[in-house]
Symmetry: C2
Subunit: 240 residues, 2 copies
DNA sequence: AGATTATATAGTCTTTCTGACTATATAGTC
DNA sequence: GACTATATAGTCAGAAAGACTATATAATCT
């Protein structure tokens, strides 16, 4: 090994940060970004995030940052799916110093007014397509792309879409989540059949709700307990 | 944010390491472990790994460690699948200092005699079941369990099993890879049908090979170019 | 040598699931 | 009141999987 003995007194010091891709679905798939105030990448969009503190785990840092950026209280936070996405550790990903960033994917059923961080930058929701087309700071384009890929893949074999569809939803709204994330239309009848046949996907509430543009009022469901769909719900192709 | 402004001159310093779960299939699923020489966890098994150096990316560190531990040359390394598994960042995962470890999963078609590291510890292959039953150092039990889960899941929807089956293999040997990773028997005829029907899974070499215990000589295949299986090849249940 | 055992390969049949499609009811909008 | 959007129920053909049978080949046991 090039590194000598595992010695507590001599190791290369790194900064470790967390970056969070918070996705939500309105009419389209959107992501929470902040506008950078200072250099480098001043004025560019970036993902919310920050340093991991010495006395907190990396996962706890992600929890904390999500809370701080979205202003969500602890109780509501439990409704937000948060999972580790991957770690990005290129040597020159931050021009100032050596930073290793652990990226997280969060799925929010609501779009809270984001809180501007203490570094006084604006935070807001933007369509994912716009964010991917814009020049993002650091390697955040790569991170965002990975997050969208992961989200799309997870909708195939888990019931995670309910995490994006709100506290309750009609099957039409749930279908819209799939179509927004996958960027492709689905057959309504077949989608219904699959969702209703999957144990633990949705739970009927007994209520009905009418959409904005008319149409018959659909039954309202809550997220079920289930996790894995087997066999999966599949899309045509994976968009690259 | 609790952390003040993103300031290059004041950040909490972390040690960043990589840990590698190298899996292979012989008669069973096996993992490469090292025997720790010094404290903490002296005498315990641990995953191979080491510090990320200041001038290399995290991915490059994983490449390097794999090379050093297995003694594989660059050319052969290309045959070994290596992917990031996840990052483990609990506050007290190393009793000596704050260490964040990026874990990798490697799938080796061969079992090279492992090289003892410069820290003079023995490295050897052990059955995964034994490793999971033994008291592993640090949080390596958790990492190994995550690796086995990931490997099992990936065999379902990718053609990655060929990375574990050797440079060439019969369908019986490929089936044995699945059975070793999943810990469950598969129907031979149905397995053949699925593999041969999946584009890019295997490529016939035209040769035949006889096993150790007799039986008709099977056709020998090479890994195909394909990546994703759709629909996936499924097992009965996910073992937890 | 012949029986036994292990493996490889081809094929059948039934059930399940999907994709494509039709029909009908309900609610808002032009 | 016609039109449009949505919700829900249902049909039908094809694809795929699970369970199973049959047959051929090679090593090993007796």
């Amino acid at each position: 090994m090039t590194a000598p003995t595992y010695d507590p007194r001599s190791f290369p010091p790194f900064a470790v940060t967390v970056d969070i891709v918070v996705l939500t679905v309105t009419t389209r798939l959107e992501v929470l970004v902040i506008e950078r105030g200072g250099d480098p990448f001043a004025g560019s969009w970036a993902l919310p995030g920050g340093f991991v503190l010495p006395d907190e785990s990396v996962d706890a840092a992600a929890d904390r940052e999500l809370l701080e950026e979205t202003g969500l209280t602890r109780g509501k936070l439990e409704d937000i799916h948060l999972e580790q996405l991957g770690t990005f550790g290129a040597v020159d990903r931050d021009p100032r110093m050596r930073v290793v960033s652990v990226a997280y994917l969060a799925l929010s059923p609501v779009q809270p007014q984001p809180t501007a961080g203490t570094d006084a930058v604006a935070a807001h929701w933007v369509p994912v397509d716009d964010a991917l087309a814009a020049p993002l700071a650091f390697d955040h384009h790569q991170i965002l792309a990975a997050a969208v890929d992961r989200a799309g893949a997870k909708l195939e074999y888990t019931t995670l879409a309910t995490s994006l569809a709100g506290p309750d939803f009609t099957l039409g709204e749930l279908q819209h989540v799939y179509e927004a994330v996958w960027g492709q239309p689905l057959d309504r009848a077949n989608f219904r059949r699959k969702v209703l046949a999957t144990q633990g996907f949705v739970v009927p509430t007994g209520k009905r709700r009418t959409g904005k543009r008319g149409g018959a009022p659909g039954r309202v469901y809550r997220p079920g307990a289930g996790g894995v769909m087997e066999p999966p719900l599949m899309r045509d192709e994976v968009r690259l």
